[in-house]
Each structure stands twice: as C-alpha cells, then as structure tokens.
C-alpha cells in the first residue's frame, strides 16, 4: 500500500493528476457558482431583518470557510512533508498558501462591507474579526518564511513547521462566535439537521460553498502544476513534458 502511495505522490503523477482534474474542477466550480449567484442574488427572499444586504453572505461565508480550509490544507500537507518526507506535500502547501491568504482578504473585505450597513462600522475589534486578521498575518508569516531561505528545501520545512504551530489559531477562529459574546452573528449553516435558514436561502449558499471549494481545488491544482514544474525543472521528465 505504501509503495502505491509513494508512487502516487511522485512529482510526475501529481503533475498528471492535477492536469486531468483541473478542467473538471473548473467546470464544476463554474456551474455551482453560476447557480448560487443567480439563485442567491435574484430569487432568494430578502432577510426579514437585514433586507437585501444579507446577500453578501453568498460570497462572505464561503470565502471565510475557505480561508480556514486553505490553512488546514497547507498545515496538513506540510506535516505530511515533514513526517513522511514527501516532497509533493511541500509543493501543495506552497501552492495553497497564497490562495488561502486571498480568501482571507476576501472574507475580511466582504465582512467589513457587510458590517457597514449592519453594525454601522467597517471594522470592530471583535474576537472573530481579530482572529481572522491574525490568520492573515499567519499566512503572511508562513509565505515570507518560505521565501526567506536561500535553500528552498529548508524554507519548505521551516514554513511547514510554522504552519503546523499556527494551527492552534484555527479552532479559536472557528469557535470564537460561541466562546465570546461576539458582534458577529452565530453559525447559521453548520448546525446539522436544523439549519437556521429557509431552504430558498440555504440552497444557493450551499451551492456557493461547493462552488468555492471546487474553485479552490481547481486553482490549487493549477498552482501545484506550476510548483511541480518549478521544483523539478532539472529532471528529464519535465523537459520532455514541456517540449
């Protein structure tokens, strides 16, 4: 089983799998986001308290979720690299960092745009907002640590270790709404069984979640291909693949 796993995680096979998966992921992302956008913006009923302003949730919630998911992917693949010495783990971690950081910025920006009409301010020093900002700083730290080393292999390992240490922050962000009296509204979707949202609002949101996940996966596989090519540029199969 392990030899199979190692063969699967070898650079050429990762490169091939990513190449095959990218168009399918992109197509799925496009479909799910298109349905979510149209249904969410045009057909879902306005919220009884927030009116039409709530519709930014269709961008905000998925990007906030993916900011955490991207971090977990980075930390877990980095740990895989550290523990089993699988080089491709670092490649995926390096590819995931900028995407996750972008989603964090998107979550912060859409969140503050949403906060302006609802809370009367763009920014509040509230546990959830602050911890999301810390997440962004962690992303920046991991990325700059990786690029600070002249030896890329060392940078990979150092960044992976920092990402693993920073995982402590992820549950804090996720549960901050429940632990502290936060200005931010509580979870509406993740309550299994009985979401606090009517189906007409929920379906577009779930579709956007799925679409954002697929979009993340598609961009990740594109970036992973770039990483693989860059990392393996001395090897014969890359030259053959490029020519």
């Amino acid at each position: 089983m392990w030899t199979w796993f190692y063969r699967l995680a070898s650079p050429p096979s990762v490169y091939r799998i990513a190449a095959v998966a990218t168009p399918w992921l992109l197509a799925g992302a496009l479909l799910a986001i298109a349905y979510g956008t149209i249904d969410g913006l045009a057909f879902a009923p306005p919220d009884y308290q927030q009116g039409d302003a709530f519709r930014i949730i269709y961008v905000h919630a998925p990007s906030a979720w993916l900011s955490l998911f991207g971090y977990m992917v980075m930390a877990v693949t980095g740990a895989i690299g550290l523990i089993w010495r699988i080089k491709m783990g670092y490649a995926v971690a390096a590819a995931s960092a900028p995407i996750g950081a972008s989603f964090t910025v998107l979550a912060l920006v859409t969140g503050s745009l949403w906060g302006r009409p609802m809370w009367g301010t763009y920014w509040a020093w509230d546990p959830r907002l602050t911890s999301e900002l810390i997440l962004l700083f962690l992303y920046v730290g991991v990325m700059s640590l990786r690029s600070a080393f002249e030896d890329p292999a060392r940078g990979d390992r150092a960044a992976a270790l920092l990402a693993v240490v920073g995982v402590v922050n992820v549950p804090i962000i996720h549960y901050s709404v429940q632990w502290w009296n936060s200005l931010h509204q509580g979870a509406t979707v993740a309550k299994m069984g009985k979401p606090e949202m009517p189906g007409s609002m929920l379906w577009p949101l779930l579709s956007m979640m799925l679409g954002f996940m697929l979009f993340y996966a598609a961009v990740l596989s594109m970036r992973v291909r770039g990483e693989v090519l860059n990392r393996e540029r001395q090897s014969a199969w890359v030259r053959a693949a490029v020519e």
């Binding site: 730290g141 700059s144 640590l145 060392r154 270790l161 804090i172």
Partner: protein, 227 residues
Amino acid sequence: MSGVGAARAMGLVVRRELRLGFRRPDQLLQPLVFFLIVTTLFPLGLNLRLSLLREMAPGVLWVAALLASLLSLDALFKSDADDGTLEQLALSGHGLTLIVIAKTLAHWLTSGAALVLVSPLVATALAIPTSAFPVMAASLALGSLTLSWLGAIGAGLTVGVKRGNVLLSLIVLPLAMPLLIFGAAATDRAVGGTDATGPLYFLGALCVFTSTLAPFAAAAALRITLE
C-alpha cells in the same frame, strides 16, 4: 555519550548563558531601556492628557513589554549558531529539546524577569496604582515566559535567515496576540479594582501549554535550520 546527567547538563547550559549574558551587560540593559523609552513615547504622543493615559496604561505597558522582549529574542540562538556552539550542543547526546529548554529559561531570566523587575517603575510613570502591581507583575511574568517559548520557535526557524529579525517579529507577534489580550485585561482589571483571576488563569494556561509543547517545536525548528 557524555558523562553528565540531563539535569546537570541543563544547569550547565543555564549557567553558561547567564555568565555570557552578564559579561555583556549593555546587551541586557538595552531592551529594558527600550521598554522605558517606548512607554515615554505614549505620554508625549498623547499631549500629556493624564486621564487618557491612565485608561490606556495597561495596554501601553503590555505593548511596550512585548516589543522589548522581541528585541532580545533574535540573540537567543544566533551567536551560538554562528560560531558552531549550537551544533556541538546538539551533538552532546542530551537531546536538542533539553538544550532548548535550558537556553530559553536562561533567556527568560535575563529578559522577561528583568522586565518584571523594571515594570513598577514604568507603571508608576504611567499612573498605575500601587495596588495593581502584584497582578501586573504576575501577568507580565507569565506572559513573558510564554513569549519566550513562542519566541524560541520563531528564533529557531529564523536562525538560518540573514537579517531574520523583522521576519522573527512577523512570525511571533501573531502568535503572541492572545497574551496581549489576556495580559492587558488582567492589568486593566487590577487597575479598576476588580477581580483579575480569570485572565490570569488564562495566562497561566497559555504558559503551561507553551512550556510543554514549544520546546519540541523549537527543537524541530532548529533541526531544520541546522541540518
């Protein structure tokens, strides 16, 4: 394998660090002077409005202490890594984790503990009442020790980086933010005369958490940069 036991080896490392530290007293004093200077900047920037200053004092004190302890973190492993001592210590057969614990504790004694000793002076200048001093000192002691553990991870990761000082701050500060929140909250409550045990317990928990896990992470970081 060397002939000395683990506890004795740790004691030797601590003693060596302290001796080296006290041979260069200016390097020990610089962070403390920085601490004093930063806290002087705030009253000047606030146009000496004392009422405002009194409200901000716990936060000012904590931010200044955090920045001052960051200054000395860079030196935690740097000189030993540069002249090869760290590799010798790593090869001594005592395990890098023990060495990290000893070095970090010694570092805390010369940086964090010194900050705690100076803090009453700064607190008086910032108009913090004397009744709040015990809580303030306790929160600073717990917080600076936690910061030393976090800083050991950061210093281990950046020891191989040229001009890694800014990067070190960039890495450690986000991780240290909970310290600032609970530390300033404890001091603030003590100033206000209310019960500060809640945030102090949180600081204690963070201190225990980092004391138990950070040495392993810092040793792993050093192994990455040393190998």
